[in-house]
Protein backbone atom coordinates (compact mmCIF):
# COMPACT_ATOMS: atom_id res chain seq x y z
CA UNK A 1 0.00 0.00 0.00
CA UNK A 2 1.26 3.47 -0.88
CA UNK A 3 1.55 5.91 1.99
CA UNK A 4 2.26 9.60 1.71
CA UNK A 5 5.41 9.18 3.80
CA UNK A 6 6.71 6.44 1.53
CA UNK A 7 5.82 8.40 -1.58
CA UNK A 8 7.62 11.53 -0.36
CA UNK A 9 10.68 9.42 0.41
CA UNK A 10 10.67 8.03 -3.12
CA UNK A 11 10.15 11.45 -4.68
CA UNK A 12 13.25 12.67 -2.85
CA UNK A 13 15.25 10.01 -4.65
CA UNK A 14 14.21 11.29 -8.09
CA UNK A 15 16.52 13.52 -10.10
CA UNK A 16 15.88 17.27 -10.15
CA UNK A 17 14.41 17.05 -13.63
CA UNK A 18 12.16 14.16 -12.67
CA UNK A 19 10.93 16.10 -9.65
CA UNK A 20 10.17 19.10 -11.89
CA UNK A 21 8.28 16.86 -14.29
CA UNK A 22 6.31 15.35 -11.42
CA UNK A 23 5.46 18.83 -10.16
CA UNK A 24 4.15 19.79 -13.59
CA UNK A 25 1.99 16.66 -13.70
CA UNK A 26 0.61 17.38 -10.23
CA UNK A 27 -0.11 21.00 -11.12
CA UNK A 28 -2.00 19.88 -14.21
CA UNK A 29 -3.89 17.23 -12.26
CA UNK A 30 -4.81 19.40 -9.32
CA UNK A 31 -5.46 22.41 -11.54
CA UNK A 32 -7.83 24.95 -10.12
CA UNK A 33 -8.53 23.04 -6.93
CA UNK A 34 -5.17 23.79 -5.42
CA UNK A 35 -6.24 26.47 -3.06
CA UNK A 36 -8.68 25.40 -0.45
CA UNK A 37 -10.85 27.96 1.22
CA UNK A 38 -10.64 28.31 4.96
CA UNK A 39 -14.26 28.98 5.84
CA UNK A 40 -16.26 25.79 6.33
CA UNK A 41 -19.57 27.57 5.83
CA UNK A 42 -19.63 28.05 2.08
CA UNK A 43 -17.47 25.60 0.11
CA UNK A 44 -16.06 27.36 -2.91
CA UNK A 45 -13.21 26.52 -5.20
CA UNK A 46 -10.73 29.07 -6.35
CA UNK A 47 -8.83 29.17 -9.57
CA UNK A 48 -5.58 30.66 -10.65
CA UNK A 49 -3.84 30.62 -14.02
CA UNK A 50 -1.37 27.76 -14.37
CA UNK A 51 1.38 30.16 -15.39
CA UNK A 52 1.58 31.65 -11.89
CA UNK A 53 4.32 31.07 -9.41
CA UNK A 54 2.12 31.15 -6.33
CA UNK A 55 5.07 32.02 -4.12
CA UNK A 56 5.45 35.44 -5.72
CA UNK A 57 1.83 36.51 -5.39
CA UNK A 58 1.07 39.18 -2.80
CA UNK A 59 -0.05 37.65 0.51
CA UNK A 60 -3.29 39.64 0.35
CA UNK A 61 -4.20 38.03 -2.98
CA UNK A 62 -3.32 34.61 -1.57
CA UNK A 63 -5.63 35.28 1.34
CA UNK A 64 -8.48 36.30 -0.95
CA UNK A 65 -7.95 33.20 -3.08
CA UNK A 66 -8.11 30.99 -0.01
CA UNK A 67 -11.19 32.65 1.41
CA UNK A 68 -13.78 32.60 -1.33
CA UNK A 69 -16.60 32.86 1.19
CA UNK A 70 -15.96 36.61 1.32
CA UNK A 71 -17.51 36.92 -2.14
CA UNK A 72 -20.99 36.25 -0.79
CA UNK A 73 -20.59 37.65 2.68
CA UNK A 74 -19.19 41.05 1.79
CA UNK A 75 -20.82 41.93 -1.52
CA UNK A 76 -21.04 45.69 -1.97
CA UNK A 77 -18.29 46.29 0.57
CA UNK A 78 -14.60 47.05 0.67
CA UNK A 79 -12.20 44.70 2.42
CA UNK A 80 -8.92 45.81 3.96
CA UNK A 81 -6.05 43.39 4.38
CA UNK A 82 -2.44 43.60 5.43
CA UNK A 83 -0.40 40.52 4.64
CA UNK A 84 -2.58 37.57 5.53
CA UNK A 85 -4.50 39.55 8.14
CA UNK A 86 -8.10 40.48 7.40
CA UNK A 87 -8.50 43.91 8.97
CA UNK A 88 -11.96 45.21 8.20
CA UNK A 89 -14.97 45.32 5.88
CA UNK A 90 -17.33 48.18 5.10
CA UNK A 91 -17.10 51.39 3.13
CA UNK A 92 -13.69 52.54 1.97
CA UNK A 93 -13.75 55.19 4.67
CA UNK A 94 -14.57 52.63 7.34
CA UNK A 95 -11.87 50.14 6.36
CA UNK A 96 -9.25 52.89 6.08
CA UNK A 97 -10.23 54.26 9.48
CA UNK A 98 -10.00 50.82 11.10
CA UNK A 99 -6.65 50.21 9.42
CA UNK A 100 -5.34 53.51 10.66
CA UNK A 101 -6.60 52.71 14.16
CA UNK A 102 -4.44 49.58 14.02
CA UNK A 103 -1.44 51.57 12.84
CA UNK A 104 -1.66 50.49 9.19
CA UNK A 105 -1.40 53.47 6.85
CA UNK A 106 -1.63 51.74 3.49
CA UNK A 107 -3.68 48.55 3.64
CA UNK A 108 -4.50 46.48 0.58
CA UNK A 109 -8.13 47.23 -0.27
CA UNK A 110 -10.51 45.39 -2.57
CA UNK A 111 -14.12 46.24 -3.37
CA UNK A 112 -16.36 43.20 -3.83
CA UNK A 113 -19.07 44.07 -6.35
CA UNK A 114 -22.72 43.26 -5.74
CA UNK A 115 -22.89 41.04 -8.82
CA UNK A 116 -20.28 39.15 -10.82
CA UNK A 117 -20.95 41.23 -13.94
CA UNK A 118 -19.90 44.36 -12.09
CA UNK A 119 -16.26 43.23 -12.00
CA UNK A 120 -16.06 44.69 -15.50
CA UNK A 121 -17.81 47.96 -14.71
CA UNK A 122 -15.95 50.84 -16.24
CA UNK A 123 -13.44 48.80 -18.22
CA UNK A 124 -13.11 49.64 -21.91
CA UNK A 125 -15.25 52.71 -21.33
CA UNK A 126 -16.34 55.18 -23.97
CA UNK A 127 -18.73 58.15 -23.86
CA UNK A 128 -22.32 57.52 -24.91
CA UNK A 129 -23.53 61.10 -25.08
Amino acid sequence: MITLEKLVGEVKQLSRNEQKHLLEILQREVGSNRFAKTSPSEPRESSIPDSFNFETIDPELKWLMGNGWILEKYRGEYLALKGDEFIAHGTLGEVLAESKRRGIDHPFTQYIPKTEKEWLLGQGNYPID
Binding site: P49, G93, Q123
Partner: protein
Amino acid sequence: MYTVEYQYRFAYRPLFYEIEGKPTLTEPRPAIPVALHHGLLKLQAIALIDSGSTYSLFDYQIGKELGIDVRSGRLQRLSSLGGVVLGYAHSIELEIAEGWRFATEVLFSDDAIPRNLLGHYGFHEHVAVGLQGKTGQIYLRPEN
Protein backbone atom coordinates in the same frame (compact mmCIF):
# COMPACT_ATOMS: atom_id res chain seq x y z
CA MET B 1 13.55 52.10 -36.23
CA TYR B 2 11.91 54.15 -33.50
CA THR B 3 13.42 54.41 -30.05
CA VAL B 4 11.63 55.62 -26.93
CA GLU B 5 13.37 56.05 -23.60
CA TYR B 6 11.37 55.48 -20.45
CA GLN B 7 12.16 56.64 -16.93
CA TYR B 8 10.06 54.38 -14.79
CA ARG B 9 9.45 50.65 -14.71
CA PHE B 10 6.76 48.66 -12.94
CA ALA B 11 5.86 44.98 -12.93
CA TYR B 12 2.56 43.54 -14.10
CA ARG B 13 0.44 42.21 -11.27
CA PRO B 14 -2.48 39.79 -11.06
CA LEU B 15 -5.86 41.22 -10.10
CA PHE B 16 -8.54 39.60 -7.99
CA TYR B 17 -11.98 38.89 -9.41
CA GLU B 18 -14.48 36.04 -9.64
CA ILE B 19 -15.79 33.63 -12.24
CA GLU B 20 -19.03 31.78 -11.56
CA GLY B 21 -18.74 32.60 -7.88
CA LYS B 22 -15.17 31.36 -7.53
CA PRO B 23 -12.33 33.62 -6.40
CA THR B 24 -9.93 33.99 -9.27
CA LEU B 25 -6.80 35.85 -10.26
CA THR B 26 -6.28 37.32 -13.68
CA GLU B 27 -3.14 36.70 -15.62
CA PRO B 28 -0.73 39.50 -14.60
CA ARG B 29 -2.02 42.83 -15.92
CA PRO B 30 -0.51 46.29 -16.33
CA ALA B 31 -1.73 47.75 -13.04
CA ILE B 32 0.27 50.25 -11.01
CA PRO B 33 0.06 51.93 -7.63
CA VAL B 34 -0.87 55.60 -7.90
CA ALA B 35 -1.66 58.33 -5.41
CA LEU B 36 -4.47 60.80 -5.90
CA HIS B 37 -4.05 64.24 -4.36
CA HIS B 38 -6.81 66.76 -3.75
CA GLY B 39 -5.95 69.74 -1.63
CA LEU B 40 -4.03 68.39 1.33
CA LEU B 41 -5.58 64.95 1.11
CA LYS B 42 -3.91 61.99 -0.54
CA LEU B 43 -5.07 58.44 -1.19
CA GLN B 44 -3.20 55.52 -2.70
CA ALA B 45 -4.85 53.04 -5.04
CA ILE B 46 -4.02 50.36 -7.55
CA ALA B 47 -5.15 51.30 -11.04
CA LEU B 48 -5.26 49.28 -14.24
CA ILE B 49 -3.70 50.85 -17.33
CA ASP B 50 -6.61 50.44 -19.74
CA SER B 51 -5.74 51.79 -23.16
CA GLY B 52 -9.22 50.72 -24.29
CA SER B 53 -10.86 53.20 -21.93
CA THR B 54 -11.55 56.74 -23.03
CA TYR B 55 -11.63 58.11 -19.49
CA SER B 56 -9.64 57.49 -16.34
CA LEU B 57 -12.21 56.34 -13.82
CA PHE B 58 -11.94 55.90 -10.06
CA ASP B 59 -14.37 54.61 -7.49
CA TYR B 60 -16.53 57.35 -6.00
CA GLN B 61 -15.50 56.32 -2.49
CA ILE B 62 -11.95 57.38 -3.30
CA GLY B 63 -13.27 60.78 -4.33
CA LYS B 64 -15.25 60.98 -1.11
CA GLU B 65 -12.17 60.17 0.98
CA LEU B 66 -10.36 62.97 -0.85
CA GLY B 67 -13.03 65.38 0.32
CA ILE B 68 -14.60 65.74 -3.12
CA ASP B 69 -18.33 66.26 -3.57
CA VAL B 70 -18.37 63.70 -6.37
CA ARG B 71 -21.79 64.52 -7.86
CA SER B 72 -20.91 68.19 -8.18
CA GLY B 73 -18.63 67.41 -11.13
CA ARG B 74 -19.49 67.42 -14.85
CA LEU B 75 -21.56 64.33 -15.62
CA GLN B 76 -20.28 61.90 -18.24
CA ARG B 77 -22.24 58.80 -19.21
CA LEU B 78 -20.08 55.85 -20.22
CA SER B 79 -20.62 52.51 -21.82
CA SER B 80 -18.27 49.80 -20.52
CA LEU B 81 -17.75 46.06 -20.59
CA GLY B 82 -19.77 45.78 -17.38
CA GLY B 83 -22.57 48.11 -18.45
CA VAL B 84 -23.39 51.78 -18.28
CA VAL B 85 -21.49 53.84 -15.71
CA LEU B 86 -22.01 57.43 -14.71
CA GLY B 87 -18.88 59.39 -13.99
CA TYR B 88 -18.30 62.87 -12.61
CA ALA B 89 -15.25 64.85 -13.70
CA HIS B 90 -12.96 66.41 -11.12
CA SER B 91 -9.53 67.97 -11.16
CA ILE B 92 -6.94 66.20 -9.04
CA GLU B 93 -3.23 65.60 -9.05
CA LEU B 94 -2.08 62.13 -9.97
CA GLU B 95 1.20 60.85 -8.54
CA ILE B 96 2.81 58.02 -10.46
CA ALA B 97 6.10 57.84 -8.65
CA GLU B 98 8.07 59.87 -6.14
CA GLY B 99 8.76 63.22 -7.78
CA TRP B 100 6.36 62.64 -10.67
CA ARG B 101 2.95 64.15 -10.19
CA PHE B 102 0.73 66.12 -12.55
CA ALA B 103 -2.58 67.95 -12.56
CA THR B 104 -5.27 66.14 -14.49
CA GLU B 105 -8.98 65.49 -14.73
CA VAL B 106 -10.44 62.08 -13.90
CA LEU B 107 -13.94 60.73 -13.44
CA PHE B 108 -15.29 59.36 -10.20
CA SER B 109 -18.02 56.76 -10.60
CA ASP B 110 -21.57 57.23 -9.37
CA ASP B 111 -21.74 53.66 -8.04
CA ALA B 112 -18.89 51.62 -6.63
CA ILE B 113 -16.53 49.98 -9.11
CA PRO B 114 -14.01 47.23 -8.29
CA ARG B 115 -11.24 48.48 -10.56
CA ASN B 116 -9.71 51.91 -10.92
CA LEU B 117 -8.82 52.62 -14.53
CA LEU B 118 -6.19 54.73 -16.24
CA GLY B 119 -7.62 55.60 -19.65
CA HIS B 120 -6.86 58.09 -22.40
CA TYR B 121 -8.15 61.24 -20.73
CA GLY B 122 -6.50 61.79 -17.40
CA PHE B 123 -3.60 59.40 -17.97
CA HIS B 124 -2.47 58.43 -21.48
CA GLU B 125 -2.57 62.07 -22.59
CA HIS B 126 0.08 62.77 -19.93
CA VAL B 127 2.09 59.56 -19.88
CA ALA B 128 3.93 57.57 -22.55
CA VAL B 129 3.43 53.88 -21.91
CA GLY B 130 5.40 50.87 -23.07
CA LEU B 131 4.12 47.40 -22.26
CA GLN B 132 6.07 44.17 -22.48
CA GLY B 133 3.50 41.48 -21.94
CA LYS B 134 5.97 38.64 -22.34
CA THR B 135 8.16 39.78 -19.45
CA GLY B 136 5.39 41.58 -17.57
CA GLN B 137 7.06 44.97 -17.55
CA ILE B 138 5.45 48.41 -17.73
CA TYR B 139 7.59 51.36 -18.84
CA LEU B 140 6.44 54.94 -18.30
CA ARG B 141 7.66 58.43 -18.90
CA PRO B 142 6.04 61.88 -18.71
CA GLU B 143 4.54 62.97 -22.03
CA ASN B 144 5.58 66.56 -22.54
